[in-house]
Symmetry: C2
Subunit: 546 residues, 2 copies
């Protein structure tokens, strides 16, 4: 049964709407607002609409309601702020639960604007005490280093140093550290902190406020130490898991959206595996998960993985193909859990199915088209300027050094041939640009264009993956992720993802990265030390054609 | 069946020997030395005995073996030290697993003496860089505070402060911080750190070296933040749990030793519960566990809980009696997990068995006899000195202010009467002291002495629990623990623990603390703020008799 047939059969897509989230595990209490807010912060960006009831005093009900909504929003902000203050300043022996609950519920009830205001209060009013820090530093600098004339350390003096250094460490902790620590102790608190950081990140993206950046970087350091991979439980997610957990998989699958219940069931069924990393303090919700297909050979298209072929008997599989990895917590951005997850999944699969000897991915190339289109557009502009002799466009004659023909002479000819009449006067890059930008990816439907473009796009894609860098690392984020973990770029696959997303991102090309167990460590080291991208020989050869 | 019958029946006590630990979950690999070392560090205090093989060169085999053992111990130390250095100094992108494994296995292979040496190296050679700290401080102090004349903060200046404060925080971290963080990320690393801290504590107890104290206090702060109670799983331990876990319960039960398999089975059977706190990074080993008996009324003797009465049907129970709480990790000393455990167990029992309305303990009073005997001995000495007119014993006449008759006139008479002829010329306190110190607790076997001593010891015990303080807190550690958690001292129970340990610690007296759900918070606050010990009315009255 093909994808279309299934879609007709099912009619219902199960991507959750905000209502679907009401089954989520609550943060603090089963009836709290926290529920709906957790994954849909934007839903609460505006104060809730006032009910349409007419007020008794006969005034303009609309403006009255608007006013009362404002007042209640203001009140909500004040309450959340007070709860936050109590949560930070109360004595550690006082019982915290109710106050922390009050704070987090209050926070979830705020609009995004008020959340931002509150986070600013947190960052500014609960920063460290600079006067105290300076005083301690002056005392510290007044001490003689605890080394006597003979160069040996004086144990007695050292005691003083240890004590003062401890005090300095504590004084250099912003006051909001206490809030983070207390929330971490609290059931649901870690999840709340992840939501709070997600908010922070989205605010910073809009407006890069230094105090919020400092708050974020402090919180991130805390989250890194709390989310030790040794604490995470590797869970094999199956059709027998609770719907509330499976719903999360559907909601957060970021690479190849799950289209129906049957799709989900296949991904958890025979010949397939789905592994999630669960943290004990965030129950029922994997922080990150990976989907695996057990195959005879390294899969070449996402269609065969997800739809076309019935799975083979597992005992015949010799390859574990990782075809999707998704993280569920925007608030944990920058904390690389995927690395540990892949490592542990490989270990587990190897133990349970010793006949599996190849560990590979079938991965998207999310940045390829964006890179290619911008390269082509830039070159077209340069060419245009040159032909019009717009010397102002170049500062000096060296400007032409930026000109680069992305195509070989042969490729240029092939494109112009395939594109036919409408190309007169244009060069190959312009034609390619127009073809790739054509609506509905028309080029993929043409029997003339498709074979002509294939070798060109495949070569350029290899160049993109193997040579385009950013700060010494692969430009493509997925490539960088797998190379960091020690994989090798093994093979490019043409028309491997014909979905709208696949065509837009990478012209339908996908890539296999391979994890070769005996060379992972070596690859990691060479990638980090020299930036060398490990790839199969023939990929290097493809590039050298030019 | 009584205790004696069982003992005869069983013959085998299952308190584990070092061999029993070979079933433990390994720290890093199933065959590593780590296994046996984990809970038996002392077993390796001396280098392993050389094999009795005779050397080929005909020299004195014994001294040769001693020499080669020394060489191999020295080599072991160097290897562990090198592995430690690599674990700290390697680049974070290098793969750590093998090095961390090497370090921990090397550490476990060391004698206690070499461990101490290695920990000193860690504390001293991997401390913070004081010159760097001073330099950063000087730079920091050179900055103008980021507040302009109008008293508002300059955001641009703040950025600099945030950056420098972050650098200072990092510079103030000793270099060994990296080792702790890396171990925490590593499977088995948290357990290893707990063993390492246990070693540290035992070394410090012998020799209070400032650098080791600083190392310990740093590590403790780390462990506190990693062992968040929200991360701990509350597990109801049953007879269906793996033997490797049950073995831990037997090994670590610190209050009422488990005498046989049948004893263990009863403690996990009908009418009983055992709850443990498990950390995901230390699998198969509760960090702390609590034993609960479901009873009609608050139990008065440990005999009835452990042996005498068959359990009642659980539906008839109205009281959950906590009769034992034990922590398994000496390396987590000072980290109060018990408080959270009791709270969560109460919540869980309330939810699952709503008919239970009383939550109480049956607790030992570990410090009572020690306190009483030292009080009595001191008073006897004072009395002796006075009777001999050893004026040098008092610095001045005010010395007599230390004299206190712990007994009322009536109690004095009762004791002298009961003790009979041998008491001539002695006062009541001297007689009491001698009786309590008599071998085999003979006083408990005398029909004359027992009833005479009962009211006296019960009154003094109430005084000990309710009035004797240390830094404003209850002197008795178990009392302090439950009072901190919000319990009330409810009732003293005479001859509630007739075991050797019970008689030595508290003359057989046990105490019920009660957790009254609606006053827990209030009790915590009053205990912490004023040191007030909440107790039942009649206990206060007993004391006021004097």
């Amino acid at each position: 049964m093909n994808r279309r047939g299934l879609a007709v059969l099912m009619r219902t897509r199960i991507r959750p709407s905000s209502a679907a989230h009401s089954t989520e595990l609550s943060l603090f209490s089963p009836t709290s607002e926290a529920d709906k807010m957790t994954t849909n912060p934007e839903a609460n960006n505006k104060p809730s609409e006032p009910s349409k009831q007419i007020s008794a005093n006969g005034g303009d009900p609309d403006s009255l309601h608007k006013f009362s909504a404002q007042v209640s929003a203001q009140r909500g902000f004040e309450l959340a702020r007070e709860a936050m203050h109590s949560a930070i300043s109360m004595n550690k022996t006082e019982v915290l639960d109710s106050i922390l609950r009050e704070f987090s519920e209050g926070y979830f009830g705020l609009s995004m604007e008020d959340r931002c205001k509150l986070l600013l209060v947190l960052a500014k009013d609960y920063d460290l005490n600079r006067n105290q820090v300076r005083e301690l530093m002056n005392q510290y600098l007044g001490l003689q280093l605890p080394i006597d004339e003979t160069g040996t350390e004086d144990e007695g003096m050292l005691s003083t140093f240890y004590r003062m250094e401890r005090n300095l460490r504590h004084a250099l902790r912003p006051k909001y550290d206490v809030l983070f620590e207390r929330l971490n102790t609290h059931p649901g608190g870690l999840k709340f902190l992840s939501v709070l950081r997600a908010d922070l990140l989205s605010i910073i993206e809009e407006d890069n406020i230094p105090s919020l950046r400092a708050l974020d970087s402090y919180l991130k350091e805390k989250l890194v130490t709390w989310l030790s991979p040794a604490t995470l439980e590797l869970h094999c997610i199956t059709w027998d898991d609770p719907a509330s957990l499976l719903e999360k998989i559907v909601a957060y699958e970021a690479v190849h959206p799950i289209s129906s219940l049957i799709d989900l069931k296949r991904r958890l069924g025979v010949g397939r595996r789905c592994f999630g990393y669960l943290h004990p303090a965030i129950p029922g919700e994997p922080l990150i998960f990976i989907e695996v297909a057990l195959m005879k050979n390294v899969g070449q298209t996402i269609q065969e993985v997800l739809w076309d072929d019935p799975p083979i008997p597992e005992c015949e599989a010799s390859c574990a193909l990782f075809y999707s990895i998704s993280s569920t917590q925007p608030g944990l951005s920058g904390i690389n859990l995927g690395k540990f997850l892949i490592k542990r999944v490989i270990e587990l699969v190897k133990r349970e199915m010793p006949q599996i000897c190849t560990f590979a991915t079938l991965s998207p190339i999310p940045g390829f088209m964006k890179w290619l289109l911008s390269k082509l557009a830039y070159q077209s502009k340069l060419a245009e300027a040159e032909s019009l002799d717009m010397s102002c466009f170049y500062k000096d004659s060296a400007g032409s050094a930026f000109r680069e023909n992305l195509l070989t002479a042969e490729e240029e000819r092939a494109i112009l041939d395939a594109a036919g009449e409408s190309t007169s006067g244009k060069n190959g890059m312009e034609v390619l640009l127009n073809l790739l930008k054509s609506p509905n990816h028309d080029w993929t439907k043409s029997d003339r264009l498709l074979p002509a473009l294939k070798p060109i796009l495949m070569r350029l894609c290899a160049r993109y993956l193997l040579q385009e860098k950013k700060r010494g690392k692969a430009l493509d984020p997925v490539a960088n992720f797998h190379l960091q973990n020690g994989a090798v770029v093994e093979r490019l696959n043409w028309m491997a993802d014909r979905s709208e997303k696949g065509l837009s991102q990478s012209g339908g090309i996908m890539v296999n990265y391979v994890y070769k167990l005996d060379s992972i460590e070596q690859n990691v080291q060479s990638y980090f030390s020299t930036g060398h991208i490990n790839a199969a020989e023939d990929l290097h050869r493809v590039i050298q054609q030019t």
